[in-house]
């Protein structure tokens, strides 16, 4: 599959701090890729580099198959971006905003924008500052989509929305994706927002990529084991250990690539995306080696 976005060794430094450090990642064309990680992980920095707002300190980024360096204006017309908090001019009416979009974008689709706003019942003559949070988010999305982008980038699109508006926003975003021809890269610090909509995951923490790949593959490759501690330890020693918690004689571990039959005294459960992300975020910074003592007290 070709990539809508690929980065190699991408780094960005602010003074002495690396906001991004040697990030290599791919956003497959046609995917909905979730960029997740705690606040301060570098998500916004990465997205701002991708849309040309920031320059990388080091590394390469390719958009839609083209290296970004020197190509910015022509490439950016093929990319839609919605920054955090759906930035709109508060004193402009919705129609004013459409006019701004029409003037700034060569491939602007006015009919699409108007049709979307009508179906969402957004009052076109109201100033943006008086719209609800959900409506503002929908207007910002409409402006980005009417550009007819090939890659749509959204920074924390649902963070400030109430649960109903969040759901409506994601439904309408998925409708756009269902029409085809669009790749979406969206960030959130809450994985639960994106679990249903994304098919690719990139987990960022402290400026580096902790985990990346197809959501389905990642979920299938991991499992949660729990039960008597020594039985858990015996199984954990055979696979890649991601996270371990033990209380007295009981232990729970998240493992990767569990193979072969498992002791029936253990419970094996599928992970959901949130558990998986938490397991990687809790993980000790140095890669855990299954041969070293994994749980408090060690392997006997």
């Amino acid at each position: 599959m070709s990539s809508a976005l690929s980065a190699a060794g991408l780094s960005r430094r602010y003074g002495k701090t690396w906001a991004l450090h040697e990030c290599s990642l791919e956003v497959p064309a046609g995917s909905v890729t979730a960029l997740v990680g705690p606040n301060g992980a570098g998500k916004t920095t990465l997205l701002e580099i991708a849309v040309g707002i920031l320059e990388p300190t080091e590394g390469e980024i390719r958009l839609l198959g083209t290296p970004m360096r020197g190509q910015t204006p022509s490439l950016l017309s093929r990319i839609g971006f919605v920054a955090q908090d759906a930035p709109l001019y508060r004193n402009f009416t919705v129609l004013d905003m459409l006019q701004v979009g029409r003037h700034l974008n060569p491939r602007w689709d006015d009919a699409l924008a108007r049709d979307r706003l009508r179906r969402l019942r957004i009052p076109r003559n109201r100033v943006c500052g008086q719209l609800s949070g959900g409506q503002q988010a929908q207007v910002a999305l409409t402006l980005a989509v009417a550009k007819r982008p090939e890659l749509l980038i959204l920074d924390e699109p649902v963070a400030r929305l109430d649960p109903l508006a969040r759901r409506e926003f994601l439904e309408s975003l998925m409708e756009i994706v269902a029409d085809g021809g669009l790749t979406v890269l969206l960030s959130s610090h809450l994985i639960s927002d994106l679990e249903r909509v994304s098919d690719q995951l990139i987990l960022l923490s402290e400026g580096t990529v902790l985990l990346a790949g197809s959501t389905e593959d990642l979920l299938a490759e991991h499992a949660v084991l729990s039960g008597p501690r020594h039985n858990v330890e015996a199984v954990a020693a055979r696979c890649q250990l991601i996270d371990a918690r033990a209380t007295g004689t009981h232990a729970t571990v998240v493992v990767r690539r569990l193979e072969g039959p498992v002791d029936p005294r253990l419970t094996v459960d599928a992970v959901d995306l949130e558990e998986l992300v938490l397991a990687y975020l809790r993980r000790r910074p140095a890669p855990l080696n299954a041969a070293e003592p994994v749980l408090v007290g060690g392997v006997s």
Binding site: M174, E175, R196
Partner: protein
């Protein structure tokens, strides 16, 4: 027309939930040959899930011969899903009850029974792959 629902935290992947709901509807007769399944766009507009998830579920159903896709028209139910033969069902049920009797008599609890079944299923599945 079938309306999909999702159960969060069931441990069953989203696309598999869609597959199972179609199979269930076929089994109980709420979906019949010729009926149309909702389009991916209609499904994602109510469930807020990735359209590829819907397409994957439909591909799986198509692979099983249960539905067929007419390009530009939609996805339609191709055939009924035969229920397991009644006689087999009775004898399997009877043998399972005998087995459960023996398990409880040996002091196993429901969770032990579930764990044994899950393990046996896993072993069978890995033998199939090997």
């Amino acid at each position: 027309m079938i309306e999909f629902r999702l159960h969060r935290g069931s441990g069953v992947s989203t696309y598999m939930q869609l597959v199972q709901q179609v199979r269930h509807a076929l089994r109980v007769g709420t979906l019949r040959p010729g009926d149309q399944l909702p389009t991916a766009k209609e499904v994602v507009a109510t469930l807020a899930i990735n359209p590829n998830t819907v397409l994957k579920a439909y591909r799986e159903l198509e692979h099983a011969g249960l539905v067929h896709t007419r390009p530009g028209l939609g996805t339609f139910v191709a055939r009924e899903l035969p229920a397991p033969p009644l006689r087999e069902l009775h004898s399997l049920g009877r043998r399972l009850r005998q087995w459960l009797d023996a398990a409880y008599a040996a002091g196993l609890e429901d969770e032990d029974v579930d764990a044994l079944i899950a393990t046996a299923r896993q072993e069978l599945a890995s033998e199939d792959i090997a």
